[in-house]
C-alpha cells in the first residue's frame, strides 16, 4: 500500500506549475477574454512544445505515453491558473477515448493532437453544450448510444455566452448523414468513459482552483488592516479559511483514488463521483469564503478572485452536477449485496 506520488511525477508537476504560473497570469486571461476567438493560439503552441497536448498520446503516435495518474497532478495545476485552453479535456478525455477507438481514427488524429496541430474539443450530451467546438479542428461528441468524431464541416456550432468569460460554449447541430464513429454498446461504454473522465478532469481542476483562492485570500487577509490589526489574525476570519483548507486537503486523496482506478482500467464510476463531489464542494466553499474575507473588494471585477470563482462554479456543473453524482453514490450504497464494510477500503 502506497498512497504517494513518485519523485518523477512531482518534479514534472513542479516544472509545469512554474510554467503555468509564469505564463497564464490573470492579466493574460483577461486579454484572452477580449480576443476574437476567446483562445490564445500562442499559448496552445507553448503547451504543445512542452509535450502537454500529447502527454497521454501513446509514444507510437508521437506522445509521451503517460497515464491518468501522471496527468491528474497537472490538471490540478491547470485549475490553479484557471487555464482557459482545453488541455484537461484533451489529455484526460479526448485522447484516451480516441485511443480506445483505435484504428484509423487514432492513427490520423493522435499525432496531430500531440504536435499541437489540431485542437480537439469534447462535448457530451449530458452537458448539452460543447466547449471550444468552434476553435477545434476535431470535435468528439458523445451521446449514450453514439460517439461522433466531427471535423468542422460536419457540424454547425452556435455560441452561447458563458457567465465565465473563459468558457467558450457551443450548441451543436450535426450535419445530416454524418455517421457515428461508434454506436451501440461500444458507444455506451465510451459515453460513460467521456463522462467519468470529464468529471475527473473537472474535479482535479477544482482542487487547483480551491488552492488558488486560498492563496489569494491568505495573502489579502495578511495585509488588510482593520481595528489596527491585520484581519487574518481574527478568528472569525481565519476559521473561514481553515474550513476551506480542510475540505481541500481531504478532497485530494479521493481525486487521486479516482485517477488510479481509471489508469488501471478498474471500475471507476463511484470513485469518480466521490472525487467530483468533494473537490467541487471544496472549490465552491473556497469561492464563497474567499469572497467573504475580501469584504466588498471580493465582489469587484477588478480583483482576480472571480476568475477562479466562476471557473469553480462551472466545474461543479459540468460532466454531471452534484445531484447526478450523489445519486450514483447513493445507488451504490443501497444496491443489494454490495460490500461496503471493513476490508473494502479500496
Amino acid at each position: 500500500m502506497d498512497f504517494t506520488f513518485s519523485e518523477d511525477q512531482l518534479l514534472f508537476r513542479d516544472s509545469v506549475r512554474d510554467f503555468l504560473v509564469n505564463e497564464v497570469t490573470p492579466e493574460r486571461i483577461r486579454g484572452i477574454w477580449e480576443s476574437d476567438s476567446g483562445r490564445d493560439d500562442g499559448l496552445w503552441q507553448q503547451l504543445a512544445e512542452m509535450g502537454l497536448t500529447g502527454i497521454t498520446v501513446p509514444e507510437a503516435h508521437g506522445g509521451l505515453g503517460m497515464d491518468e495518474l501522471d496527468f491528474v497532478l497537472l490538471a490540478q495545476e491547470c485549475g490553479y491558473v484557471a487555464l482557459p485552453e482545453p488541455l484537461v479535456n484533451t489529455a484526460l478525455v479526448a485522447v484516451p477515448v480516441i485511443s480506445q477507438l483505435g484504428g484509423q481514427a487514432a492513427a490520423e488524429w493522435l499525432p496531430k493532437i500531440a504536435a499541437g496541430e489540431t485542437r480537439v474539443a469534447v462535448g457530451c450530451s449530458d452537458n448539452g453544450l460543447a466547449e471550444d467546438a468552434a476553435q477545434a479542428g476535431l470535435l468528439l461528441w458523445a451521446e449514450p448510444q453514439a460517439l461522433y468524431l466531427l471535423t468542422p464541416d460536419q457540424f454547425s456550432a452556435r455560441f452561447n455566452e458563458s457567465v465565465d468569460p473563459s468558457r467558450r460554449l457551443y450548441a451543436i447541430d450535426i450535419a445530416a448523414g454524418v455517421l457515428p464513429a461508434a454506436s451501440g454498446e461500444q458507444a455506451a461504454a465510451l459515453y460513460q468513459a467521456v463522462l467519468d473522465r470529464g468529471a475527473l478532469g473537472a474535479a482535479a481542476q477544482a482542487l487547483g482552483l480551491a488552492q488558488r483562492m486560498i492563496d489569494i485570500s491568505v495573502q489579502y487577509t495578511s495585509e488588510r488592516q482593520q481595528f489596527g490589526k491585520v484581519i487574518g489574525s481574527f478568528q472569525a476570519v481565519k476559521h473561514h479559511m481553515a474550513n476551506v483548507a480542510v475540505r481541500l486537503e481531504y478532497a485530494k486523496a479521493p481525486v487521486t483514488r479516482a485517477a488510479y482506478a481509471l489508469a488501471r482500467g478498474e471500475a471507476a464510476q463511484v470513485a469518480v463521483s466521490h472525487a467530483k463531489l468533494v473537490a467541487c464542494e471544496a472549490a465552491n466553499l473556497a469561492a464563497k469564503n474567499s469572497i467573504q474575507v475580501h469584504g466588498a473588494m471580493g465582489y469587484t471585477w477588478e480583483v482576480d478572485l472571480h476568475i477562479f470563482m466562476k471557473k469553480a462554479w462551472a466545474m461543479a456543473g459540468t460532466f454531471g452536477d452534484t445531484g447526478f453524482h450523489k445519486q450514483r453514490v447513493a445507488e451504490h450504497i443501497f444496491a443489494d449485496g454490495v460490500a461496503l464494510g471493513a476490508g473494502t477500503t479500496f
Binding site: 491568505v218 464494510g341 471493513a342
Partner: protein
C-alpha cells in the same frame, strides 16, 4: 502509488479473521459490537478478560517493535487487523490508551527501567491506563496546567497535588500519565514534567462525572500528596510538554484506524436500518447517507495517505486536519442516525434511562467536536500553522 494489499498481507488478514472467529464467541458473545463510544460501561469485566484473550493470541500492541514484545506489524497489517477486528464485531478496547498512547510514549521517551516495568502489563492486557492532561483551568489552553509535582528529597519521591478532569476510564485504570508543573515559577509549556502515577494509592481520588448519556465514562481525578517514584518521571523535569506533544503525534497516527472501523460499523447499521424502515426511499435522507459515505471514504483514504508517509509535503497539514474532519463528520452521523430512526429515536429502550445503540451514539457524538481539541482550536491551528495566517494576539 499502489492501492492494494500484497498476498502476504492478505494471508495475514485470513489469520486475523480466523483467530477472531475462533475466539470472539462463547463467553465473549455478550461483548460483540459493544463497548464503543457512548457504551464504555458495558460489561467491563468481560471486556477486560477479552483484553487478556487478545494478548494470549499475540494481538495486543501489534504495531510495537518486536524488541518490546510487539509484532512489529507494518502499517498495512495494522490496517488489516483493525478492519478485521471491526468486521468481527470486536468490542471497544479498554487497553487502547495503554497500547496506543502510554506504551509508545514510554518506548520513545522512557528509561529502560520504565520499559521493563510498564510495557509487559500493557502487552498482557492486564494493566490499564488513563490520561491526566485536562484540568479545570487547562482545557483548550492545555499548557495552563496548575497541578504541581514537588520532589520530596527525604522520601526520594515526587508528591503531586492538583486536579485532573474529563479523565476517561480513570475508574478502570491502574495507572495514569500525568503532566504536572515541576517548576512552580514557570508558566505555559515550560517547567512541566510527565509522570507515571499509580492510581491505587491514598493520594488519588476518582470521582465519576455523569454525562448526558446517563453513564460515566470520564472522571475527576484528585491528587492530594499523591506519590510517584523518582524513577517514574518520563524524561527530565521540564521535558513534560515535549513528551506530551510526542504522544499527541501517536494519537493522530495508527490509533485512528480502529476508530474508523467503528464508524464504518455505525454507518453500516444506519444503512441497514434505512433499508429496513423505508428511510432509504426518502430522497433527502438518501442524499445525506451518500454524503456520510463519501465522508467516511475520505477519512479512510486520507489515513492511508497520511500513513504512507513521504508524499508531497502536505502530510503534516493533513495530520492537523484529521481531528476537525472526523469529529464533525461523526457528529453529523449521529444526527443522521436519529433522522433515519424517525420518531422512534425519541423512545428509550428501557426505563430508567437505557439508550439504544444509535441514541447513545448520537448523544456521545455531541462531545466529538470538543474533546481532544475543540473544532475552534483546531481551526486556529490549521489557519496559523497550515495556512500561515497571522497569529492571534494572546494574553
Amino acid at each position: 502509488m499502489k492501492l492494494s494489499f500484497s498476498p502476504q498481507d492478505e494471508q495475514f488478514r485470513e489469520e486475523v479473521a480466523q483467530w477472531l472467529a475462533d475466539n470472539l464467541c462463547g463467553e465473549f458473545e455478550c461483548v460483540r459490537h459493544r463497548g464503543g463510544p457512548g457504551d464504555e460501561h458495558h460489561r467491563v469485566a468481560e471486556r477486560k478478560a477479552w483484553e487478556r484473550k487478545l494478548a494470549e493470541g499475540g494481538w495486543t500492541c501489534i504495531g510495537w517493535p518486536k524488541e518490546y514484545g510487539g509484532r512489529g506489524a507494518s502499517i498495512e497489517q495494522q490496517v488489516i487487523f483493525n478492519e478485521e477486528y471491526a468486521r468481527a464485531g470486536g468490542p471497544g478496547r479498554i487497553g487502547h490508551i495503554g497500547e496506543t498512547l502510554a506504551g509508545p510514549t514510554i518506548i520513545a521517551f522512557g528509561s529502560d527501567e520504565q520499559k521493563q516495568k510498564y510495557l509487559p502489563g500493557i502487552l498482557r492486557g492486564e494493566v490499564f491506563w488513563c490520561q491526566g492532561y485536562s484540568e479545570p483551568s487547562a482545557g483548550s489552553d492545555l499548557a495552563n496546567v496548575k497541578t504541581r509535582a514537588e520532589f520530596d528529597e527525604a522520601a526520594g519521591k515526587w508528591r503531586i497535588n492538583g486536579q485532573k478532569v474529563w479523565t476517561s476510564l480513570a475508574h478502570e485504570s491502574e495507572y495514569c500519565f500525568v503532566i504536572a508543573r515541576t517548576d512552580p515559577q514557570s508558566v505555559g509549556h515550560k517547567g512541566l514534567g510527565f509522570f507515571l502515577v499509580t492510581m491505587d494509592q491514598p493520594g488519588v481520588t476518582v470521582r465519576p462525572i455523569e454525562q448526558l448519556t446517563g453513564t460515566s465514562e470520564f472522571n475527576e481525578v484528585f491528587f492530594d500528596d499523591a506519590e510517584c517514584d523518582a524513577a517514574d518521571i518520563v524524561g527530565a523535569p521540564g521535558d513534560g510538554w515535549k513528551v506530551a506533544m510526542g504522544l499527541l503525534g501517536f494519537e493522530r497516527g495508527v490509533s485512528t484506524l480502529g476508530q474508523q472501523m467503528l464508524f464504518q460499523n455505525e454507518f453500516d447499521a444506519i444503512v441497514k436500518l434505512a433499508k429496513d424502515n423505508g428511510a432509504a426511499k426518502n430522497p433527502a435522507l438518501r442524499q445525506r447517507i451518500a454524503d456520510a459515505h463519501v465522508g467516511l471514504k475520505i477519512l479512510r483514504y486520507n489515513s492511508m495517505r497520511m500513513l504512507s508517509g513521504g508524499g508531497d509535503g502536505s502530510l503534516q497539514k493533513e495530520a492537523m486536519i484529521y481531528k476537525l474532519y472526523w469529529a464533525t463528520w461523526h457528529r453529523n452521523l449521529g444526527k443522521l442516525a436519529m433522522d433515519v430512526l424517525g420518531q422512534e429515536s425519541e423512545i428509550l429502550d428501557e426505563a430508567p434511562y437505557e439508550l439504544n445503540r444509535l441514541q447513545s451514539m448520537y448523544l456521545f457524538t455531541r462531545s466529538d467536536t470538543i474533546y481532544g481539541g475543540t473544532n475552534q482550536i483546531q481551526r486556529n491551528i490549521i489557519a496559523e500553522r497550515a495556512l500561515g495566517m497571522p497569529r492571534e494576539p494572546r494574553g
